[in-house]
Symmetry: D2
Subunit: 140 residues, 4 copies
């Protein structure tokens, strides 16, 4: 599978009164990491991807994370992301966070839907088949 790695500097505003990352911030980082994974594999930004494939987003249906090692502001973490499974109109992503390049600090997983506007009701969203070229580029 195609793997994308990016580094994230932990900012003061990411951290809570205990001095460590407020964990909902990690989920925002993972959301950006999934966008970066698709961007790197497809060669276009997420914004361009939504337009190109005429979808409204890739909403989350199931996510979870195990936090083994906390990070504090000033730390730099590496987030490694890859698709763990493609299904017809949904897919799973695995993220692994490393501290100082080596220590596995967090493992997270996501299940998302390839979603467009519902043809019968523009206020609703609906899963659509993931294009074969998307699957291929992220499976290399």
């Amino acid at each position: 599978m195609f793997v994308n790695r990016r580094t994230v500097a932990i900012e003061w505003g990411d951290c809570d009164p205990a001095g460590i990352v407020f964990y909902p911030r990690y989920f925002a980082m993972f959301d950006a990491s999934t966008a970066a994974l698709f961007a790197a594999a497809l060669g276009m930004t997420k914004f361009q991807m939504l337009r190109h494939y005429d979808i409204i987003g890739i909403p989350m249906v199931d996510t979870g994370a195990k936090f083994s090692v906390p990070s504090k502001f000033g730390d730099v973490i590496t987030i490694e992301s890859q698709i763990s499974e493609f299904r017809r109109s949904s897919f799973s992503v695995a993220h692994r966070v490393f501290r100082e390049g080596e220590t596995l600090a967090i493992e997270a997983h996501e299940t998302r839907v390839w979603a467009g506007r519902h043809p019968d009701d523009p206020n609703k969203i609906k899963g659509f088949p993931i294009p074969q070229e998307v699957i291929e580029k992220l499976s290399q």
Copy 2:
């Protein structure tokens, strides 16, 4: 002018490693306070207001705040909001934050636009005249 007051409990996740509110969180609270001000005066949620008046939002063009007294998690603050000025397609809002009902902790101001989709380019937004009934209900 119509005045709206709401109380906000400061949460752990609103605070930074110094144990006090991370100030960008106040701006999110003020954004919700402006929405609550319109909702209270118009008798509809901001969501309904956007649909009813066919606008896309009330985007910020200028804002500022003076922080006199910090708040920490566990504190409950009161945010008092009112329109300070209406212009043709823009308006200003004043927020005052009180600690324990008495101490003035923050003073903030906003200038926003009553904005809809640009008739010539749906990807752009454009200021529209604020409806007279909106001005009247918020001026009572």
Copy 3:
């Protein structure tokens, strides 16, 4: 088990370009919901709880959520929270989110540690036994 319910109004700033809640915001809401659960059962704020029991926090070690029904800004959700298990120095929390009082929209779980400063290294944290009175009050 002691159950706490609270309502949360979904704000404009909680939502993403698809118009629905940006899911990391739910985790911030759940963090506040766990704080509210302890506050309701113990009769003190989380701030007072940390001081009273001399702990530094209740950091997350494992969390996950299934999102069945999206919410958009203007919606009001009810979050129902309770302890699902107490262990020696850790505990699990279950959150259920309801739309309009009836539709189950999200199910989430958390495992957290009752954590204080490490006696040998004040820069580290360590799990401590959960006080019996805390267990009792949350188990009623």
Copy 4:
């Protein structure tokens, strides 16, 4: 004055239902930009700076921003930051945001305090004189 520039990619989660950056997110970016300014000038992270100079933070006392051009997710902005004035125990910072390297999109200013723990009450904070070497390195 020492000037620091950094680029920030606008993420999906930074944006609101109108598809543009939710403005409180800019303040979080500016907070990180001020930290990056000091880090670049002093050659240490903000975390190290707080330890080295024995301060608890550089809390905000006054900030404001004018938003001229909105940014949407997928955009990359450049934030240019510099000290605009040093006083005894406080200082001001100016941020300018550029779209595509040329268009001035936002102008923001901050006044912050060089703050440590109050010697008489560790729960309070107090302004301390800004060290001369800090002033010199940021004035180059």
